[in-house]
Structures are given as C-alpha cells and as structure tokens.
Subunit: 213 residues, 2 copies
C-alpha cells in the first residue's frame, strides 16, 4: 500500500488520514454543529490553516472516509476482467464495499448525522454522484455503449448507487434485524428483475434471510 511513495507523500497521506479520522471521531462524539475546524486541527497537532489545505469544510472531512471508499469502488470495477458479465462485476465490487471498516453502531450513528445535517448530506450525495459518473464510464466501456449516446450506462451506474444508498438507509433504521449484506443482495435482485410489484403484503419479509451468495 505504502509502497514506492516518498517520505513526503506518505506524510501527506498520513495527515490527511489523521484529519478525517479525527473529524469523524469528534463528529460522532459531540455532533456536527458545535464542531469546529480548529478543534479537528488541534487534535492532529496541525494548524487550522493546514486543515483548510486538505479540506474546504468540516463536513468534507467528516465524509472523506466514505468518499475515499467510493473512489476505490470505481477503481476496483476498472480492474475486473473485461469479459465478465457487468452485473457480476458490479456485485463483486459493491458487496465488499459494504464493509466500511467501521463498527456497526458508529456507522449507523454517522448515517444518522448525514441524514439530518444538510451540509453533510449534500457532501455525501455529491460523492455518490462522482462515483456514478466514473462507473458509468467503465460500464459504457465494458458493454460497448456510449455515455453520451445511450442511456444504459448512466442508468446501470445510478442503479448500483441507489442499491447501496437504499440498503444503507434501510439498514441504518435498525428496524429490520437483517444484516447489511443481506439487504443489499435483495436490493440487487429486485433491481435486476425490474422491481416487480411485491405480491401484496410481504408481511414477514425479514424472516430468515436468504443466503446472499
């Protein structure tokens, strides 16, 4: 990971990581509104001015972790074999992305903050949008379509994004006892079948989750 990077590059990465870790930790601990860039900078022992060199707002720093992960998803998709069916490629890169490396309760808490805080939500959504654009390009390349002539790649990219978003949203409520991967699998299935109208009353759809894999 930290392979052939010079000392300078590694340090930059390290402070960036430290900053967004601190931002996230403080946001979870004390909320977003009372949190100031100064405090974040202080915790990492850099000047407030340096914080601004990395992030243009506290909100950007807080969601930077998720955003970085989104970037990885796009890159991972690029790395999949070109002849793999596109839905399989998507599943292969999206499912692992569900593991954010954060403890579950913290992730729920963070999603709650994002949901309520306008600026945080905006930042989060733009990162999703950026991911979609990149994925649309890869999808177009893999399926022989054209981003600027066909609707298909945009739709498939966006659909992948909302599968993630909707699954996270439902999981974050905590009202279903199901795991995130389980919910996400169902979402992909439903989407790939064109969202058929549910029988009538799913009643206990949460019962004994179907094996995702």
């Amino acid at each position: 990971m930290t392979d052939d990077l010079g000392l300078r590059e590694r340090k930059k990465l390290a402070t960036r990581q430290a900053l967004c870790d601190a931002a996230l930790k403080l946001a979870l601990a004390e909320g977003v509104t009372t949190l100031t860039p100064e405090r974040i900078a202080e915790k990492v022992h850099v000047s407030p001015r340096t914080f601004r060199n990395y992030f243009s707002s506290k909100e950007e720093a807080i969601v930077a972790g998720l955003q970085d992960r989104a970037q990885q998803v796009a890159e991972n998709l690029r790395r999949r074999p070109a002849d793999e069916p596109i839905w399989e490629s998507l599943r292969a890169v999206l499912v692992p992305s569900l593991d954010t490396g954060m403890p579950g309760p913290d992730l729920r808490h963070l999603l709650g903050l994002i949901r309520c805080h306008h600026a945080l939500l905006a930042e989060h959504l733009t990162s999703f949008e950026a991911l979609s654009r990149q994925m649309a390009e890869v999808i177009a390349e893999r399926t022989g379509t054209d981003v600027n002539r066909d609707i298909y790649p945009r739709l498939l990219a966006d659909v992948s994004g909302i599968a993630l978003k909707a699954s996270l949203g439902l999981w974050a409520t905590g009202t279903t006892g199901r795991g995130l991967g389980d919910i996400f699998g169902e979402a992909l299935d439903l989407l790939s079948r064109g969202l058929p109208r549910p029988a009538v009353a799913p009643e206990h759809s949460a019962d004994t989750g179907p094996p995702a894999t």
Copy 2:
C-alpha cells in the same frame, strides 16, 4: 392558485418567486461564481438580509425553481387514485414534470452549471433526495409495504429519481438528437425490465427512437 391567501401570504410568495427568478436569470447570464446575494436582492428591490431570510445561499435560490417542481411531483403522486398500478402512477406524474416551463436552451445551460459547480450540484442532489424520501412514503402506502421494513419502496422511489436524473443528464449533452420525453420513456422501460444487457453493440441506438408506449 392565489385563492384564500391573505395579502401578506401572497406578498411572501411573490418575493420568494421574484428572488429565485432573479437568481436563476442572473446565474444564467453571468455565471455562478461572480454572482452575489446582494445583486439578486438589489434586482428585486429588497435588502440583502431579506434574501437570506428566504434562502440560505445563492445556490439554494438558483435551484429553488427545480426544487419546488419536485415538491409538486410528490404531491401529484399522492393525488393519484390509490388502486392505480404504481408504475403507471409514477409515469403519470413524472412525465409531465419533464416540462420545466423553461426554454430548452436555458434548461441545458442550467444543467451545465449544476454539473460543474460543486455547491449547486450538492443543492440539486439534496432536493432529489428529499423528493425520493417523500415518494418512498407514498409508494409504501400504495403498495402495502413499509418504508422501515422493506427495501422495495426506497428502491422504487430512488429508481424513479435516477430515471429523471439520467435522462436529464443525457439529454443535456445534446449529443443525441432525441427529445427529453423520448429518452425518459426508454429509461423507464429499461428500468422496469431490470436493465437487460444491451444486445452487444447498439451501434445506432439513437436511430429513430423506439415507440415508447
């Protein structure tokens, strides 16, 4: 429309409308970065502080028109007969929403601005998100599902949103000679069929659009 509202209410609505009209017009004319809240307020003959009472940023004012339209979509959906198939209800409210009441070139221009400007994009996306949340609730009600237990209503609401977003995005490029309604119809069709992989090379998929209905 302006029925049983007192003079005070009507005036409020009027200034709000005037403000977001002015914001949009100025943004289209001179760009977003150089535009200041002062100028917008000045054009409507109110103080800058009043502008802030209505909108918390110039970006919010610029996209307020689209946002209001999104609100209407949600309300129109609520008004559809409860026994109508949900896909038909969605089509019935979304298709008319394509007519933004703006001249085509202006709309393209605006979408271009939104696409490039981070703050504008963020504002625009949050309005889409707000729309999705409302639509998810209505969809849940109509289909006998539960927003907090089933993934279905969230997915269907989000899918409707991206059908709009992707169609607008493709149409705005102007590289297909097709109409917005045409593109949107194809998007809904594809989505309702689970985004089947396109044959292989659509080659000239833009040719003589397929009859949507």
